[in-house]
């Protein structure tokens, strides 16, 4: 670093902070507006100039929303689906990935290629026949349909297999000589060693199931089965003028993801970085 153009460097730094400050503001304002409006009467939401901190915050919005729509049911449904899908995804993906990475069997390469090829096929291209099939199995308007269509992803297998490839085969060999079964090796060696990949897969699956929109929209038309996303959407389109309540419900729908995100942020960002680079 040459010290000659120190003035320029400070100038650049000030400019960088200025740009970042404006961007941070643009990113944050919608949430702040959401929070502020969620504590207002409908008639006060759009007053201009904006009153950021309501004079008499209407906390009752947060009470009323639970009785206006079955918000508790929506949250329970979403949490239930997210947890089950994530657990199944983790279990079956890491199980299959172990075979693809550390075991030999006929058709291994062909099968793995098939898995990879399907990652590239967009779900939207086969969602219609998938729905027809599920319906003929009597699974329309069941949570089971959502679970079945999301729990067995090729992406999960691919992600876990990439990670297992970085674990030396010698480790498994040594365990086999010690008499550990393959299931034992998976449970006692691979799973503990692959915590970073498992947490990445957990976060991605959980958040994408929590936020899924089109899947529940196709399958879940009964109100008592709806997830928070489509439940909230239903409320917004039915009571479009209930600004305060809509914002209160929106805040509530964001909080669980915010908590998960803040707690696991590090794994999240690392996950995006590594899967992003490796494709």
């Amino acid at each position: 670093m040459v010290g000659t153009n120190k003035g320029v460097k400070i100038g650049v730094k000030v400019l960088a902070y200025l740009i970042l400050f404006v961007v941070v503001l643009c990113m944050l304002v919608p949430y702040l507006w959401m929070l502020s409006s969620s504590l207002k009467l409908n008639k006060d939401v759009f007053t201009f100039p904006m009153q950021w901190i309501p004079e008499s915050p209407r906390w009752s919005n947060y009470k009323e929303i639970w009785t206006r729509i079955p918000l508790g049911t929506f949250i329970y449904n979403t949490a239930k689906l997210s947890v089950i899908v994530t657990a199944l995804q983790i279990l079956t993906s890491s199980f299959a990935a172990y075979a693809f990475s550390k075991l030999n069997f006929t058709g291994k390469h062909a099968l793995f290629l098939g898995y990879i090829a399907t990652i590239a096929i967009p779900w939207q291209a086969y969602m219609v026949p998938q729905f027809i099939m599920m319906r003929s199995m009597g699974l329309n308007n069941t949570h089971l349909a959502i679970i079945l269509l999301q729990a067995f992803s090729a992406f999960g297998v691919f992600l876990m297999r990439q990670f297992y490839q970085s674990i030396p085969d010698e480790l498994c060999e040594a365990a086999r000589i010690d008499g550990l079964s393959e299931y034992g090796i998976w449970a006692r060696i691979m799973v503990p060693l692959s915590k970073p990949a498992l947490s990445t897969l957990t976060i991605f699956t959980f958040v994408s199931t929590w936020n899924d929109f089109l899947g529940p929209m196709i399958y879940l038309t009964k109100t008592e089965l709806k997830t928070i996303q489509i439940g909230l959407r239903m409320f917004i389109s039915q009571y479009s003028a209930e600004y305060g309540l809509i914002m209160a419900a929106s805040v509530i729908s964001i909080i669980p993801v915010l908590i998960v995100f803040l707690v696991l942020q590090k794994n999240f960002v690392q996950g995006v970085a590594s899967t992003g680079i490796k494709g």
């Binding site: 960088a16 919608p30 939207q124 086969y126 729905f131 067995f152 909230l232 914002m247």
Partner: protein
């Protein structure tokens, strides 16, 4: 681990199956739970989708083979053309803008800055925040007459509110609004990918360039850009594919309670959804789905070629 070691390996060998067969069977038992679910609920529908594109079927009456007539119909269907065109316009709008914003923010955040982690969190969070909720806020903020954006514009420029853009409600501004929203929501994700790419750039390259007298712009142009080429390529491909698959953003920004989009905002996936679940024309919906599939396949093939080139 102790208990397992007491199993005598000889007892395993005694089984009637050969060692190799046993090994293979164990391997299949690992694959099976995932594969059965995957085959049944992903592979079968994929094959089914191709068959459906060549038949006429409403789900109740028997299927009727129609050959390529769905594709001929697509060729002449103005609604489909509109959807395809809107999807392309959306993609052309979202992709470059997201890349520039993501790269710019990544370069800024790659330096030692005050509150860097906080800013990274703020930029990334919209990507994971519930779409329905943030789209609702956007629609309120950009509301044509009541929204703070237009009120602010009115206060600043003096232009009457009626003459200001009506954003999502205006067919000429709808696409601009949805592009802006998408960039706002997703740029943090691509920023993180770029940040990881920047970490991989050898700092000695910058030092060498600086010794050669390269200024900041020249260093950016001749070190950062070429070094990030593989990352940019990957980001470009993912962005294009994700833009082709868009649906939920459009529904949440534009559609009313009936979940309908008009000619200014209909996109490919909406067209698939509507044709299948509203018109119950499963065959024709699958033909549109095939078009989507071919578009994504084309990009994926380019991506494979590129990954060979960049040696990933």
């Amino acid at each position: 681990m102790r208990n397992e070691t007491t199993i005598n390996p000889k007892t395993i060998r005694k089984s009637r199956l050969s060692k190799k067969t046993r090994e293979h069977l164990i391997a299949y038992s690992f694959i099976a739970p995932n594969f059965i679910g995957f085959a049944l609920f992903t592979l079968v529908p994929m094959v089914f989708a191709f068959i459906l594109a060549f038949v006429k079927w409403d789900g109740a009456n028997p299927m009727e083979y129609t050959g390529v007539s769905h594709f001929i119909r697509l060729w002449k269907d103005p609604t489909f053309h509109k959807a395809l065109w809107n999807t392309i316009v959306y993609t052309v709008g979202v992709v470059p803008l997201t890349m520039v914003c993501a790269l710019g923010l990544a370069i800024l955040l790659n330096q030692k800055l005050f509150a860097r982690d906080f800013m990274r969190t703020v930029f990334f969070f919209p990507y994971v925040a519930s779409l329905v909720a943030v789209a609702a806020v956007w629609n309120f903020i950009f509301s044509p007459t009541m929204g703070p954006v237009n009120n602010l514009l009115h206060a600043l420029t003096g232009v009457p509110i009626e003459d200001l853009p009506r954003w999502a409600a205006d067919k000429d501004w709808a696409m601009f609004t949805v592009v802006l929203f998408t960039v706002w929501k997703n740029m943090g994700y691509y920023m993180v990918i770029y940040l990881a790419g920047l970490q991989g750039v050898n700092p000695e390259l910058y030092e060498a360039a600086e010794l050669d007298g390269a200024n900041a712009w020249q260093r950016f142009r001749n070190v950062t850009i070429p070094q990030l080429a593989p990352t940019s390529f990957f980001v470009l491909m993912i962005l294009i594919i994700n833009s082709f698959k868009v649906y939920d953003i459009f529904i949440n920004l534009f559609a009313g309670a009936d979940n309908q989009l008009n000619d200014a905002t209909r996109v490919l996936v909406y067209q698939i959804y509507n044709t299948a679940f509203r018109s119950l024309d499963y065959g024709y919906a699958s033909a549109i789905a095939i078009v989507l599939f071919l578009l994504v396949l084309g990009i994926t093939l380019i991506q494979f070629q590129g990954e060979k080139k960049y040696g990933q």
